[in-house]
Symmetry: C2
C-alpha cells in the first residue's frame, strides 16, 4: 500500500470541532479548492476542514508556512490552482503535512490560524483550475458492456476495448462547478421510428457517474510519460457528471463520436481530493479475466498493478419535483465503486501521452461511467432503464425513463477502510432547467 | 456580395514597396498575428504588410490610432489576440481602415509608421491566440464521401451527414504554428492482416487540408447563437493541417471517434485573415443536390445562403528528402477550393452553439478536410493513394503511400477575383521527424 504517515492517523483530531467525525472533510482529508469568501472578494485557494474553509492566501500572509509548504501555499493563493498542480507531489505533500499540524487539536498555532477560517456555507465554490483540455475516457467496463449490448447483444465489447483505454476529447468551456443549473439542450434528434430528424429539446437527458482526474506536471509535446511516472503526475480527483443527451448523441455520433450530445454541460465537484489523502484507499487493479490480454508494456507497471486502483464508494441520488413536494427522501439511483474501472488513473495518463500529446497542469480527465456488475450499481439511466424501456418507479408515484425538468442529480464519493478515517469528496449536483 | 470599401481598392498601393503585387500580403490583406521581434522580446500583435510586420503596440504607443481603432490596437498589443477577437467586427474594421490609410502610398504618416516595421524574416511567428477549445468539423463532403467509400462502397455517406454539421472535439494543447517539427507518434496499431495490436511508430502518417476558423465574441452557456448572427462572431481564418495517424485512428476510433490518431499535432498558419479582407471573395453556398434536405431552420439564413461561402484556392505541396537532394520542385499533392465545403462557416458556428455550448474568443474550428471532386483536389493521402493501395510516384523516383520521415507538407491559400487584388494566407508547413 502507498505510504501513509501521521496525516492519516485516524486518532488525529482537530480543534475545528465540526471536522471530527465529519463524513466528508475530517482532518485526514484536507482537499484543495477555490472559493469566494463571504461578502465577495477575489477567488482564492482554500482547504476544507469540517464545516469551514481555510483561506490559504491569508494563512500564507500570516507566515504560517515555510519551505516547500510556503511555495505550495503561495501557488494556491490565486484564483486557480494550476500553479500548485504544476509543482507536483512534494510541495503538495509538505503543505498537507503542515496543514495537518496547524489544524490538529494540539496545535500551538490555533490563534493564528483561526482568523483564516470562513464558514463554508457562506462561501461560493468555483472551478478549482483553469481547464486547458478536458478528456473523457471510457474505462468503466460494465458501462461499456451494458451500452454495447443495446446495439450488439452477442458481442457488446468492441475488439479494441481490452487493449486501448478508449477516450475522446470533450469540451472544457462548459465544465461547471457543482450547483450550476443544467439547461436541457436543443438539438437534432431522430428516433428510429421517424424517417427524418427534427430540432427541439432533448427527450432523453441522462447523467453519467464518473471520477474526475486533475493533471499535475505535464509533458512536452512529442515526449511520452512512462507508466512508472504517470501516477505521480496526477494532482487530484473529483466527481464528474457527464450529462448526456442520448437522442442527440445517437443521431450525431457516427462516425466521429459524441459532440453536442455531451458538450452542453459537465458538472464537477469543486474540491480536489489529493493523492496523498487517498493513499490509504489504493488497491490492486482488479484481476483481468483469464482470456483478457495483458496490458501492453507502455501500460504495465508492477506498482501500478499492485496499488494503482482506488477503493472509492460512489453514490448517485435523484431528487424529483414530486419527491421534493411530498418531503420524501432522494431516490438512490446507484451505488458503485471506482475499483470497477478497467484501467487505473496512471494507465489513462500514460496512454494519453504515449503518442506525444502534451498534457498540462489543470487538464481534466473523466474516467468514463463507473457502473458495477449489478443493476443497482449502473451509473446512467441509459443502463438502469435500458434506454427508457424499463422506467423507474419512484416513491412519489412518478416514473422516469430519463431526466425531467426540475430533477436534481447528486453524486457523492466516500473512501472507507478499516483502521483509517473515512473521507468524502463533497457533492457534485445539478438541477435540470427547461430548454431555451 | 458583402460590403467592400476603399481598403479593398485594387489600385491602392503602399509605400512599403514589397507589398505592391505581393502574392500574400498586399495592402488589401492586412492580416493579424503575434510575433517575437528581431533579437527577442515579448511576443506582441502585428500586421503583415509585404515582407514586413507592423508592430501594433509600437504604433499604438506612437499615437497613430484613435477611437475604435485605438481600442483594437491596444487589445492586439499583448502576447495573444483573444482580447481583440472579443471586441468583434467594428473595432477590427476600424483598425483595418486606419492601417490601410497609414500604409498607403499617399500617407502623411509614413515617417511615424516606418520605425514600427520589422523585416518579417527576422521575426518569429507564434500562435495568434490562446486557444480555449479546438473543434474539428467534417464539412468537406467529398472527403467524407471518399473516406466513407473505403468502408461502405455502396453507401459512403452516413444518413446524418446532410442534416448535421458533423464535428468532434480536438486537442487544443497540441496546436502549433507553422514551422514546428511534427514528431511521428507511437501508438497501438492493428492492420487487418494481424490478429492482435502492436505498439510502435505510426506507419500511415497523413496530412489533412483544412480551413481554420477563429472565434470572436462568444455566447453564454445555455444561450444559442442565431444563424443570422453567427457569421459576425468569426474573427478570422487560417490554414490548418490536421495531421492524422491512420493506423492508430483506425484501431482506436470505435465507438467514440478520433483521439491519439489526431492529438499528437495540429499545425496552423500564424496569420489571421480577417472577414473584412475576405469580403470580396464571399460566394453563394454551392447548390445542393435535388434530393438533399434543406438546412434546418437553425442553420438557414438567406444572406448566408447568398454569400456565406468562401472562394479560396487551396494548395498542398510535398517536399521529400529525394526532391530536396535532387533540387527538384515540390510535388503538388492537391489543388482544391474552400467553396467545396458543404456547410458555411456561419452554419458551423450556429450548429456548435445550438445546444447551448458556450463558444469563447480564441476558440479554433477546423473545417474538415477540403477535397474537391477530382483526384487532383483530394486533401489527404488516404484519398489520393486510396489508403496506400495506389502509391504516388514522385519525380525523384521516390514513391509515397503515406508520409515518410523528413517529408515536409506545405499548405497555401489564395483568394482571387476579377477587379480585386489577390491575397494569400501565408504558409502552413511542417516536417515529419522520426518517432521517439
Amino acid at each position: 500500500m502507498p505510504k501513509t504517515d501521521a496525516t492519516h492517523d485516524p486518532k488525529r483530531r482537530s480543534w475545528v470541532d465540526s471536522a471530527n467525525g465529519h463524513p466528508e472533510f475530517p482532518i485526514q482529508n484536507l482537499p484543495l479548492g477555490v472559493f469566494v469568501p463571504p461578502g465577495g472578494g477575489a477567488p482564492r485557494g482554500g482547504v476544507a476542514i469540517g464545516d469551514f474553509i481555510l483561506d490559504l492566501a491569508a494563512a500564507h500572509a500570516a507566515g504560517l508556512f515555510r519551505g516547500e509548504a510556503a511555495a505550495a501555499a503561495e501557488a494556491a493563493s490565486g484564483p486557480a490552482l494550476n500553479d500548485l498542480f504544476a509543482l507536483g507531489a512534494a510541495p503538495r505533500a509538505a503543505l498537507r503535512a503542515r496543514l495537518s499540524e496547524l489544524l490538529a487539536l494540539d496545535s500551538a498555532e490555533r490563534a493564528r490560524v483561526e482568523p483564516c477560517l470562513h464558514r463554508a456555507e457562506d462561501c461560493t465554490m468555483q472551478l478549482p483550475a483553469r481547464i486547458g483540455d478536458y478528456t473523457d475516457f471510457y474505462a468503466g467496463i460494465h458501462h461499456a458492456t451494458n451500452t454495447g449490448r443495446q446495439f450488439r447483444p452477442d458481442n457488446p465489447l468492441l475488439p479494441n476495448y481490452k487493449y486501448v483505454p478508449i477516450a475522446y476529447h470533450g469540451r472544457s468551456s462548459s465544465v461547471v462547478p457543482s450547483g450550476t443549473p443544467v439547461r436541457r439542450p436543443n438539438g437534432q434528434r431522430k428516433p428510429g421510428r421517424e424517417t427524418t430528424p427534427s430540432f427541439g429539446p432533448s427527450r432523453n437527458l441522462d447523467y453519467e457517474l464518473e471520477l474526475g482526474i486533475w493533471m499535475g506536471p505535464g509533458n512536452a509535446l512529442g515526449t511520452p510519460i512512462p507508466i512508472s511516472e504517470a501516477g505521480e503526475r496526477i494532482a487530484g480527483f473529483c466527481l464528474l457528471n457527464d450529462w448526456s443527451a442520448r437522442d442527440i448523441q445517437g443521431w450525431e455520433y457516427q462516425p466521429l463520436g459524441p459532440f453536442l450530445g455531451k458538450n452542453f454541460c459537465t458538472t464537477i465537484s469543486p474540491w480536489v481530493i489529493t493523492p496523498e489523502a487517498l493513499a490509504p484507499f489504493r488497491v490492486a487493479q482488479p484481476p483481468r479475466a483469464e482470456d483478457d490480454p495483458a496490458p501492453m508494456d507502455y501500460l504495465l507497471d508492477a506498482a501500478d498493478q499492485r496499488e494503482g486502483a482506488l477503493d472509492l464508494e460512489l453514490e448517485v441520488l435523484l431528487i424529483t419535483p414530486g419527491l421534493r413536494e411530498k418531503g420524501l427522501p432522494p431516490h438512490r439511483l446507484a451505488l458503485s465503486n471506482a475499483r470497477h474501472l478497467y484501467w487505473t488513473p496512471a494507465q489513462l495518463v500514460a496512454h494519453h501521452a504515449c503518442g506525444g500529446c502534451n498534457l498540462q497542469p489543470g487538464d481534466l480527465f473523466g474516467s468514463g461511467t463507473i457502473s458495477g456488475p449489478e443493476e443497482s450499481s449502473f451509473g446512467s439511466l441509459l443502463e438502469t432503464t435500458q434506454g427508457g424501456r424499463k422506467p423507474l418507479q419512484l416513491a412519489s408515484g412518478e416514473t422516469r425513463r430519463f431526466l425531467e425538468d426540475g430533477d436534481e442529480v447528486i453524486l457523492r464519493a466516500h473512501a472507507r477502510r478499516e483502521g483509517y478515517a473515512s473521507i468524502g469528496f463533497g457533492e457534485c449536483r445539478g438541477t435540470v432547467q427547461p430548454a431555451p
